[in-house]
């Protein structure tokens, strides 16, 4: 099947690298025009070049998802300059790994601000346009860490568990507006964020815990985002689809 997103405008947060960048490019390959948001503009420009080389429009916007004005500017620019806002991928996230007893209040607040409040602000702000048009696809990047517990990352895990239930709650509220809200739970993906967590030569022991014996490529997660961003998944509502090579099969 050809997933055809021509005529759709997608906003991807955290689009400068990792899953966000792969997702932005995959959405463009499927035909969407893409608004790229992140704190570091230079990384966005690089992704935008790749998207434009595929014949799609790209609009990089420096954004702090924890700031309401910044998020509202992102969404209004997307809508006004690109001519719509059909798909939102809430991907931006940070991690402050370490034992709980060593977690500072500032680190906790920062994780919650980016990972959770950022998703709230972006979803609400995009919802303003989506509800008006009675169409939308919201895909939240959660994590297997939001389902299965592990040591030394409590703030990240808590934020991701919250996103999974936020997804369900908004899904049930917005489906009457023809807006599908779903979440994706990646396991170990080859990204800088994961490298940050596994630094110190833990890679081999982590690989042993993944039945498929490899990390995911960001592109594999992006494939799932594209499917959930398309009308082929209209009957999938409020789901958290895990993509983890068998890491967390209950």
């Amino acid at each position: 099947m050809e997933i055809d997103l021509r005529g759709k405008v997608a906003v991807v947060t955290g689009a400068g690298r990792g899953i966000g960048k792969s997702t932005a490019i995959a959405l463009a390959e499927a035909g969407a025009d893409v608004v790229l948001a992140a704190r570091t503009l230079s990384q966005l420009e690089e992704a935008a070049l790749q998207i434009r080389s595929k014949g799609r429009r790209a609009l990089p916007i420096q954004t702090d998802v924890t700031q309401k004005e910044s998020v509202e500017k992102l969404m209004s620019s997307a809508h006004d300059q690109m001519g719509g806002l059909h798909i939102l991928v809430n991907n931006a996230a940070i991690m402050a790994p370490g034992p709980l007893m060593e977690q500072s209040e500032e680190a906790w607040d920062r994780v919650m601000a980016v990972n959770l409040k950022g998703v709230f602000l972006c979803t609400q702000s995009a919802g303003h346009y989506m509800i008006k048009k009675q169409y939308g696809k919201v895909i939240n990047l959660a994590s297997t860490g939001g389902v299965v517990a592990g040591p030394n990352n409590a703030s990240y895990h808590a934020s991701k568990a919250a996103i999974i239930h936020f997804t369900r709650s908004v899904a049930i509220e917005w489906i009457r507006h023809n807006i599908n809200v779903n979440a994706i739970g990646p396991g170990m993906v080859s990204t800088e964020l994961v490298e940050q967590f596994i630094q110190g030569g833990k890679r081999e022991s982590i690989l042993k815990g993944i039945p498929i014996r490899r990390f995911a490529d960001p592109e594999e997660v992006a494939n799932l985002v594209v499917f959930l961003a398309s009308d082929l998944s209209n009957y999938v509502v409020g789901e958290h689809v895990i993509i983890d090579g068998g890491l967390t099969i209950p």
Binding site: R176, N223, N234, Y235, I243, G246
Partner: protein, 248 residues
Amino acid sequence: MIVRLSNKVAIVTGSGRGIGEAIIYRFIEEGAKVTLCDVDEKALKAVKSKVDEMNGTCLLAVGNIADRDFVGKMVDNTIKAFGTLDVMVNNAAITRDAILHKMTQAQWEEVMDVNLKGTFNCLQAAATYMRSQGKGTIINISSTSRYGNVGQLNYATSKGGVVAMTRTAAKELCRKGVTCNCISPGTIWTDMLKAVPEQGQERLKAGIPLGRFGEPEEVAHLAVFLASDEASYITGQTINCDGGSFMA
């Protein structure tokens, strides 16, 4: 994104009608060769003639998946005819609805025979071949009835069992290059649902946040995605396709 099943060989059980039939047509559209399987020969022949119209390639297997010999032959014949088996869709299932205190032993056993033992037979036969090849994917069809559904103690139990089979098979097969996932459809507009009186249908619809029944094609789209190479990192998962009735 182009999702294709070019040159893949698939078996879809219960493909005489409903969700299984829809999966067949979508698989054919994406370039797969398929084996149709159902107890209802007349229904299968009707599906085959549509597949022929689409210039698709298919093989017929008429029989009951509860019969191990039949399942073994179906898998063998498929591999003989098409050279391999890449995708096994375990969709065949029956209902024998009754409220708990009125459920007969026969109603319990008939459902378990097809939905659990039949699915096991197919899963095992397909997995045995796929692990020897070091590749393949299995898609089981459960149901949101697995969360509990009045009048379906037998069916709901069997569909919960299908999820457990999915997880266990995924764990066992992962290192052999074989993935196993499950789709859990909600209330889909099939013959099973059309048989429900109109009042009952309205009640069911009222419980779906999306406000409508699902089309068999919507389940089939998800099956195509899971059967494709694009879904290669997904295994052991059960995905509800239910308009938001249950969110997992």
